[in-house]
Structure formats: structure tokens, C-alpha cells
Amino acid sequence: MKTDELIALLASGEGPVDRHVLARRLGQALLVGLLGAVLLTAALYGVRSDLAEVARTPLYWAKLALPGSLALLALWLTHRLARPGVRGGAVWGLLGVPLLLVWLGAAISLYGAPLEVRTELIFGRTWRTCALNISLLSTPVFVAVFWALRGLAPTRLRQAGAAGGLLAGATATLAYCLHCPEMQVPFWGVWYLLGMLLPTVLGAVLGPRLLRW
């Protein structure tokens, strides 16, 4: 087939292109994935019984703010990296802001605590399972976001995969907050971040393989 013929083929019979397909596809993936993560949380771990009470405390919202802000940044990154010629750029750097804040909060809380309870502040009662639970809960969003990315056109596959993985990890952490009883900032600063890091690394590893087009 000559190039002219290919061009004629590509151009003929095409209707208008939906301008919002990028946002819609990512939105659908996120919605379905998040729903899956919430259902998984409820089914596997159960919703904490005092949720209605803790939801009225600022500390609970501070706890949600960590994965919430990371999820928004990861969504922004994914939206950028799904398009050719758009870099993650400074948005990668912005990820440092919630990290620094949670570590600052953790440092303050550890500094103000008596020596013997510091270990308790970091490890809580669920450190063995926390990161793995979050990683497991990230599966629905991970699958859905990779599906969305495969319908888009990422050209930096490793970065796009990492952004998608972080989005999955951060939204999974949000869902896990329905269950997780730990209310210590140092705990979040270690185990929540580790839980989000695992799917991010997985995304970076799988991106070049799964997102090629």
C-alpha cells in the first residue's frame, strides 16, 4: 500500500472525534476502580464501627488528606502522561509536598511523645498487614487505569505506568481509611506510603510492557 493510499484510507469515512474522550475514559476507570476498592474494603476488612464518630474529628480528615492529595496529583500526572508530548514535569515534584507534610507531622508527633510510646506511634497494631492490604485494594483501580491508558497514547511508558500505579495506590488508601483503625501520623507516614509505593513500582515495571502501542 502506498502512503497516499494509506492517508486516503485513514481520512475517509471518519466522523467528528469526541473531545472529551480522554477525561471520560480516565473518569470511568477511576469511578469503577474506586467502587471496586470500597466494596473490597467492606467485604474483606469491614468498615470500622466508629466511623461516624471519627469522621467528625479533624484528625480523620488529615488522614484522608494524605492519600487524597496524592490521588489528585497522580490523576493529574496520568492525564498528562496519557498524551504524547506532555511531560509529568513539575507535577512529579509536587508529590513531595504531601510527603514532607506527613513526615513533618510525624516528626512533631514523635518529638512530643514519651520515649516508650514512640514505637507504638510508628508501628501501631496493624503494621504487618497495612501496606499489603493497600496493595491488594489497589488492584481494581490499577486494572481500570491501565485499561484507560491502553486506549490513550502514552509515550513515556514507565512514567505513565508509575503515575497509574500511584493513582491506584492512593485511591486504595482512601478506601482503606474506611477500615483502618490507626490514627497516628507516624504510622501513615510509613505504612500508608509503603502501601502506595508498591503499586507505583509495579506500574513502573509493567508500564513499558502493558502500555506499548
Binding site: 502512503t3 475517509s12 502501542w213
Partner: protein
């Protein structure tokens, strides 16, 4: 040579091509065809410079890039410079191609060359060595028939739906998926030749 183009000329080219693409995305098939034809001239020049050692494959890769541009066209947003968008696709396909042939290191320096895509041009098509028509024949029927009827024979989606017994939306989906599958077939077929 072509690099003496002034910045004004390049940005005029950018504006002109972007206007054609935007009209194409809004459903103007003629403008879209004109866009692809004009783009092909630039991408051919861009690739020819970077594949100096393998001139016979420039046209194959050009066709691959054009197919990729078409398959990714829904990711173009009007506020983005068209050059950056197209160049990223061309570069991605070039790197992918070089990786398939494990030539990446050998050609690394050419890849670093970041000169403007629209500064390159080459209007002389070469013979493509790979026949996309044959690859098209390998697609499953529900993708191949919509492409053949709508895109090659120029029938409408509704007419094609009547002939094939598919629904109109299945015809559209078949075209969309078929062109993406074609891009995968290209990559797969090169892979086989490479073995």
C-alpha cells in the same frame, strides 16, 4: 539545508497544520486528509535524517507513524503545540522501531537531535516494503469488513451495517479496533522478520 527556515515560517506551518487537524477532528474529512498529507512530508524528512543507514525502511516507518497519529488523534488538545504532539509520536514509534532491531545505541545520537519537526520535509515517497493491504487481510472479519467497506470503498456506516449484518455502532467500533489491531500487526510482523 532546511534548518535555515525562519522561526516565523515554522510557526506559520504549525498554525496551518493545526487548523487543518482541528477541522479534521471536528469531522471535516477533506481537511483531515490534507493534514495527514502535509504531515507525511514533514515526518518523512524527519525520519529520513534519522534512518540514514536504513533508507529503505523510512516509508514503512512513516506509514506506522501516520497510523499512530490517527489512532492517537483523540488525545490531541488544542492548547498543546501540534509540533510537540506529533514529534512525541514520531519519536516514540522511531524508538520502538529501533528497539525492535536493537539498533538503539547505534543511533542514539540521531535521537538526541531535537530539531523542529516542521523544519524537515521530504516530498518524495519511496516504495514501502511492507504491504499494509496484506496485513489488513489478516484482521478478523468484524474489523476487516468495516474498514474495507467504509474506508476503501467509501460506503457509509449505515450501508456497511446493512451489507455485513453488523449494527452501526459495531461497524464504527470495528474500524476503530481494526486500525489499532493493524498497528499491532505491524509491530508483530516486524518482530517475526527479525527472528
Amino acid at each position: 539545508m532546511q534548518r535555515t527556515h525562519s522561526q516565523d515560517l515554522l510557526s506559520a506551518r504549525e498554525t496551518q497544520l493545526q487548523a487543518l487537524l482541528l477541522r479534521g477532528l471536528a469531522g471535516d474529512a477533506l481537511a483531515y486528509r490534507e493534514f495527514l498529507a502535509a504531515l507525511a512530508v514533514h515526518v518523512r524528512g524527519f525520519l529520513r535524517r534519522r534512518l540514514a543507514q536504513r533508507p529503505s525502511e523510512v516509508e514503512d516507518l512513516l506509514q506506522e507513524v501516520l497510523l499512530a497519529v490517527h489512532n492517537a488523534r483523540h488525545t490531541y488538545q488544542p492548547q498543546q503545540p501540534l509540533t510537540a504532539w506529533v514529534q512525541a509520536i514520531a519519536r516514540y514509534k522511531l524508538v520502538d522501531y529501533l528497539r525492535r532491531y536493537a539498533l538503539r545505541d547505534a543511533l542514539h545520537e540521531q535521537l538526541e537531535d531535537d530539531s523542529d519537526l516542521f523544519a524537515a520535509s521530504d516530498e518524495v515517497p519511496a516504495q514501502a516494503s511492507r504491504d499494509l493491504g496484506k496485513l489488513l487481510g489478516q484482521l478478523p472479519e468484524r474489523q476487516r469488513l468495516p474498514i474495507v467497506h467504509v474506508k476503501l470503498e467509501g460506503l457509509s456506516v449505515d450501508e456497511t451495517a446493512r451489507i455485513t449484518g453488523l449494527s452501526s455502532s459495531a461497524v464504527k467500533v470495528g474500524i476503530h479496533r481494526g486500525l489499532k489491531a493493524l498497528a499491532r500487526l505491524i509491530r508483530g510482523s516486524d518482530h517475526d522478520e527479525n527472528r
